[in-house]
Amino acid sequence: ACSTGGAQGKPTAAADTSATDKTVNWANWAAYIDEDDSGAYPTLERFTEETGIEVNYEVAVDDNNTYYGKVKDQLALGKDIGADTAVLTDWMAARWIRFGYTQKLNHDNIPNIVNLNPALRDPDFDKGRAYTLPWQGGFAGICWNKEAIPGGIESVEDLWNSELKGRVGVLSEMRDTMGLILQQNGVDIASDWGDEEFDAAIEVLREQVESGQVRNIKGNSYLEDLKSEDTLAAICWSGDITVINAEAGDKWEFAIPTAGGTLWNDNFLVPIGSPRKANAEALMNFYYDPEVAAEVAAWVNFITPVVGAKEAAIAIDPELAENQLIFPNEETLSNAHIFRSLSGAEEQKYQAQFQSILLGA
């Protein structure tokens, strides 16, 4: 049958020209790497020094869906999407692998893979990490402007406080926003739940959006709203405020809500059309050096998947070891849960319901 818009037979990987083309294009999220005052990326510079590979670091991912929307047609045709490696969340990475949109990694080029946290070695969607490699993990929780809300907030429920009307932001990542609300509703997002629970949670969100309590629903660009103070409290990703605090003064604070946050992981992968897979692998290998990982972690305050980074971090600043956003202890982790994986039909249905709220229908 003739069909459109998806994988029509799987595209084939591009020939690798890394040997002659010493560049690598990296598509990543905002506030997701170390960056100094002049806007330069110190670890990337060191990578270039060590390997001679130039990096085009592009903040191209605002959320998983919009990024996918931008590149999917090219992927389906096996064309270069302008990124040799992109960082995407587990569930999206799973889709790419399913559709054949990623290239198989050559672990020989990534000797540092030994430093990968053993707990992350065999996820369902990519046994043995044949296609992906974790970049950072983190929580979705709540954050607020300390100047505007000196008392702080503790739960998702607090976001619905009428004093914050019109100044609340939520994420366009369905799993994070809905995950938090589901948990607020007492649902364990990691285990079995169904339409009923989801519908109930969606109603909560719908009510808050329609009443104008929620100002906006965004991807990583929610940071811009925080900075412009259009929003004063929001559903956030754990490390992000560290970076904007560094930029605009220590203004914001993050917390995992009392009812629980989400735990997720973002992964490197090599898109099918990239002709520079080896360079991308060199990049991954570089960031799996514990010292480099520690340096990144010290900046971005997300959970590093690299074993040995903690020790290296203590060398930089002993306090880092205690930072629950980077090195969460059991207690912290027990408060965060992984959103269960969804079937294709569920994905379609829940995304549609969630989008209908984004679209104000």
């Binding site: 459109t4 818009g5 905002a30 960056e35 005052d37 002049s38 806007g39 130039e54 085009n56 670091y57 592009e58 903040v59 191209a60 605002d62 590149v71 047609d73 090219q74 389906a76 045709l77 064309k79 270069d80 999407i81 302008g82 990124a83 965004k218 991807g219 990583n220 660009s221 940071l223 811009e224 900075k227 412009s228 930029e247 605009a248």
Partner: protein
Amino acid sequence: MLGGLGESQELDSRGPRGRVRPRRLGLGDWLLPVYTVIAFVFLLIPIAYTFVFSFNDSIKSNISWRGFTFDKWLNVCTVEGGAVCEAFGNSIIIGIAATVIATTLGTMIAIALVRYRFRARGAISLLLFLPMATPEVVLGAGLAAQFLAVGVAKDMTTIILAHTMFCISFVVVTVKARVASLDPALEEAGRDLYGSPSQVFWRVTFPLLLPGIVAAALLSFALSFDDFIITNFNSGAVSTFPKYIYISASRGIPAEANVIASAVFLFALVLVIVAQVSRAARAKRLAKLG
């Protein structure tokens, strides 16, 4: 305005030799100029803002004022590995290519429409009007669906193809007006004065249509250069200036984008003003001679 309504009674009550009454100031005498000034201020505010913030000593996102610097102007192409400049360059290339193709095709159509008689006239006019009446999302989405269906990868070429498509109609409209105002007697005079058909075209018709063609080309370029919606659907991995801005809007737009936009603005403004002034000067000279 309302004063005019009670006028005639007033007239009647005045004696036949009524004193000359000083005229009221009409609304247009002061209200309109004042309004015009305010309107222009309003129109120019965001432009001024963009310009001013091209000097902002911002780090990443260019939201709050952090001090004055020339650095952004001096180092436009260094930020993000030159992504802004690359996008800008792409926009220029795309604009030029689309303009050349659209202007050529559109001019040919315009000449044919005015000068020749044929049956499908109505259908052709409709075909030319439709792209102008179709929202950009539809054009963009339709083309994207089409490219995907036939398995064409998106790159610079697809953008150029898309831009050319929506420019053609505007070119036809612009040039058609010029052709229609071209006195056919001029071409007949050319033939009468021993000009062969091609000589008549290149020495009479073409130079006379040129202002219209140039206007159409400038319009095409402007439309292409500023297009985002259609580009967004059909650009693949290629970045254009508007696309760059749209994407960076979600992560904070660097001041360098303001620099480029301001530079383009100033360049175009100077160009237009020079053209206007020289035209006015020519008109003045003409008036003096005539």
